[in-house]
Symmetry: C2
Subunit: 310 residues, 2 copies
Amino acid sequence: MELINKMLKGDKRACARLISIVENDEKESEKLIKKIYRFTGKAHIVGITGPPGAGKSTLTDKYVKLLRKSDYKVGVIAVDPTSPYTGGAILGDRIRMNDLALDPGVFIRSMGTRGYLGGLAKATRNAVKILDAYGCDYIIIETVGVGQSEVDIVKAADTVVLVMVPGLGDDIQSIKAGIMEIGDLFVVNKSDLFGAQRTATEINMMLDMSPKTDRRPPVVMVTANQNKNIEQMELEIQKHYHYLVDNGLLEERRKKNIKRELLELVEEELKKLVIRETENNGELDSMTESLFNKETDPFTLRDTLLSRIK
Amino acid sequence: MELINKMLKGDKRACARLISIVENDEKESEKLIKKIYRFTGKAHIVGITGPPGAGKSTLTDKYVKLLRKSDYKVGVIAVDPTSPYTGGAILGDRIRMNDLALDPGVFIRSMGTRGYLGGLAKATRNAVKILDAYGCDYIIIETVGVGQSEVDIVKAADTVVLVMVPGLGDDIQSIKAGIMEIGDLFVVNKSDLFGAQRTATEINMMLDMSPKTDRRPPVVMVTANQNKNIEQMELEIQKHYHYLVDNGLLEERRKKNIKRELLELVEEELKKLVIRETENNGELDSMTESLFNKETDPFTLRDTLLSRIK
């Protein structure tokens, strides 16, 4: 494809169009990824996640600006919840990081959580591959980290930054706990607010209770909207990357992700197969009917279907 | 099973032990569900969901107490995020709704979001079936509704109540939007707080923008911790149920859920099959290796695996 060559040579518009392909066209997306896969694996992929209201966009904005000072090429994928009412990303490219978007060394794309045939995780993964082949030194995936699917998305990163803020209440506490284990680095944002030190202490306490590992994730206090301490965060992200490389863990981590991706691709196809096998001949409908009437149970019918497919 | 007979006769402890089985033992769980499936389908299943901090537990508590005044038998499944650090549900049965738990007409169970072999959605679904066979008139599934998996859980309900609160900031706004379409009923909780009316107006505006349907979801203002207007909410929940029944939509909705459950069960088995087929002989590892070395691409290997399985 002409677009691929252009993108590989650093054409930003070509890159944007290729990402639109992985968002909208599954068939073309496969062809595309097949062609560019060998150009991937060079970028440092950083996941930035945390509860709603943690100030992740602002933090990402300042972090990208800092990286730009060292002339790194940076890609940002912001995963935003979308609504069928708006038909697209709410916090779209339009309204965020406008000045960054004009920088030729930065590529920003917002992706919603709905409307991807193959799933958002897949679309995000493929967009990351394009940005990688495009030559980004850093690729930042920013997500609201609360649900399982969001957690799955950031897991694909080399370094996961968990952003917390003081004063989000008890309910948030429990969510924090649920995603604690994926953080390679903890950031307490809005650290000028009352309770910031307490939040840091709580994170440290949780880390103390966690099983001992070779590396204890650092906790960094920042105030993103005042551009305070972003350098410290960047330093810790770099340190984590070197820690991975020096201990052979980057390879291990990436292989784990590769394996998961492959299995998910196979599962996805099998899923389609099941639907094709049962939906066309009305079998699925008649099975549903007999389940609704309690004439049988779902496990029995599952086994019937399985024996037919195999 | 002796336990099943006891549960069907209304033995609360037997019911609790059966739910533990669906949480912990997949094999036994299947046998169990096969036996009780025909006793299900009678309860009105109500999902209560919303962002962290919306006061869902308090609302559920008051709602259950109201239902108890009419002597309804009520089951509650609270889906709580868990942490590997605590090893279980944080907002466990111990610390919530203690007085309710003593009521023989109420069954409460907290379920975490980790550690279910077959997935939390499946465990929840099966727990609901047990409570249904146990004879509950109402089964309430309470979840933090932010991520996709949480949304999937409440989708299994007959009536979904979306709980909002004033003043959760912009980030929450976008999450709200992402789950707006699953609400059959909107509740603005903490309606004594500043901004409650504005939140209600925003919800109404979103509903105005949505595609026209036969039924427009009502918006109810409540203040759960003051027990205010819970009757109004209960009335709207009942009205929604009657709306479903009167228009043949309850059957339609339940069949949709039944179909999805069946497909998911089949997919789950196929998933296991893929792993079994590839992991044992080291094939998966060597494929991962060649992907890591960029000798091939994931889609090509997916097709290799698929042709081998079929």
